[in-house]
């Protein structure tokens, strides 16, 4: 993406943001709240509309064309802070509704695929429960599996652990680490610096709608170039 800007009313959330991410790259985006990091990744799959600049995903331009939006979304998976599972469907149905409805897969094949990914996130035994009967960590793992069932090439994570109790964060991060090891392209908005350190190829700090710093994790954590990065790291790593 290049020169992407976005306003909420008169408030400029993204200020001429330019960013390039390679296939297979794992990028962690961090920054104080209100810095535009969630908006950034929500623009990539058109949950928010950018008003200036260009976004290309796999060479397809993200514009008003419904065809392009669908093509781009089909290569993207999204995991939300609040899981956003469908509460009226069982876990299994949450996983199969996309493949059957959108991809016109046979129910049986979709269910096989769903069970495959439920085993991957280590909760196959919950398949016939409803989302609200699961713990937060389990729900988030179902959400990850739901995205994977659509076979995306790029996964977007919008603060996937921020709504979780501390003891559940680890199980979700473990799932994400396994996903990273499988070679998935990932853009992760998170405050989990441990995750950034071990998994990310690049860490980005955003503040006030700008990308302040982009560096490899070693560099980012031990020798941040910008004052803004240093104060941010001080604030979150102090305790």
């Amino acid at each position: 993406m290049s020169g992407v800007s976005k306003w909420y009313g008169t408030f400029k959330v993204l200020n001429e943001v330019s960013l390039e991410i390679q296939r297979g790259e794992r990028v962690v985006v961090c920054g104080p709240s209100g810095s535009g990091k969630s908006t950034l990744i929500r623009c990539i799959n058109r949950l928010e509309e950018h008003q200036k600049g260009d976004i290309y995903v796999k060479g397809i331009e993200l514009n008003d064309s419904v065809k392009n939006i669908a093509a781009i979304r089909s290569s993207l998976g999204m995991v939300f802070q609040s899981f956003n599972l469908f509460p009226h469907l069982t876990v299994l149905e949450n996983l199969t509704i996309g493949p059957t409805l959108v991809r016109h897969m046979k129910r049986k094949d979709a269910e096989e695929r769903a069970m495959h990914f439920l085993r991957k996130v280590r909760i196959p035994e919950q398949a016939h429960k409803y989302p609200l009967q699961l713990s937060g960590g389990q729900q988030q793992r179902v959400a990850i599996a739901r995205s994977l069932c659509m076979e995306p090439e790029i996964m977007l994570f919008d603060e996937p652990t921020s709504a979780l109790d501390p003891e559940m964060i680890k199980e979700v991060l473990d799932t994400m680490i396994e996903l990273a090891e499988s070679g998935m392209t990932m853009i992760v908005v998170t405050h989990e610096m441990g995750f950034a350190r071990t998994v990310a190829d690049n860490v980005i700090l955003m503040a006030d709608g700008n990308i302040v710093e982009r560096a490899e994790p070693g560099e980012f954590f031990s020798h941040p170039k910008h004052e803004r990065t240093r104060t941010f790291l001080d604030q979150i790593l102090k305790h």
């Binding site: 979304r73 089909s74 939300f80 609040s82 009226h88 996309g98 739901r146 995205s147």
Partner: protein, 366 residues
Amino acid sequence: MARSEILEHHAELPPVLASGPWRWMHRHFFSSVGQTFLTIVVAAITIRTLWFLLQWAVLDAVWVASGPQACRDAAGACWAVIVEKHRPILFGMYPYDQHWRLVLMIVIYLTTVIASLTPACWKRSILIPMWIAAVTAITVLMFGGVFGLPYVPTSEWGGLPLTIILFTGSVLFGMPIAVLLALGRRSPLPVARGLSVVFIESLRGVPLITILFVAVNIFPLFLPAGMEVNKLLRITLSIAVFFACYQAEVIRGGLQAIPRGQYEAAASLNMTYWQTTLRIILPQALRICLPAMTNHIIAAMKNTSFVIIIGLFDILTATTAVMQDPLWRQFYIEAYLFVALIYLVFGLALSMYARRVESWVAVGRI
């Protein structure tokens, strides 16, 4: 109010160890002088009323009589009038010797509805053929004209079958219209939104009687000469549209309760607007507004009685007409009580079923 005060008052006393009916009665009815006095007064009025009702409705009542004179001689209710008049009350002006067709129609109707409300039957492969069969059978029975059944025009239909047709028709046509109006009102397309708002607000602001009057007397003037839309159909659609405008606002409430994240999750799975609406949003929204929807469905049942003004003989109008008979006229209270009982049975059945559905929703069964 009084009860919570008493409970609060007792909360400050040492723990109550004894329990049982006497203790309970003491706490709720006789805990102070004033309360004891009220209890006695209310009990006296209640017993007096119940005794009067028992005497009127059972002890002094006339159940079977050869003529109205027996009723006039008695002090109690004249249930004999229902024995005497139940057929015109239930079936209106439908030809007398063909009433068996209406009995059969009601049996088919009740069977179909009860089956449709049973979760085990909620499969397209069962519901669709069942309804097609039921509607066909009922149409044949009501109209006749085939299989040696004499033809009966809709102008001679009446009583309970007419009420059933009006009610079922208006709910079956009305619900889809209501859903479309509710979706339209929240649509991002300005034209759809504008039309829905104008439609809902203008029809909600008008009494049902006016709409019926327009449908019967004014609408035909706009049709090309020679073209005619059946009166019963016009009336059913009018009640349906009126019902839909209220129901649409209820459903809109349900739609508004669905968090934005549900739309976003569906969007990121690349689902289309209609896939999202039909599979994700509506199933949740309709569950949320189930109690309020039941409310309007019961109201729609009773609204069918408005057809009196345009000369259709639903069960209530039929009763009024029947009770013009000078011989039996004075026993109209008993006749109306009988009709009220029928409404009550249908209404209670609906609300009990709705409560059952709510409990299924609560445990995630549907």
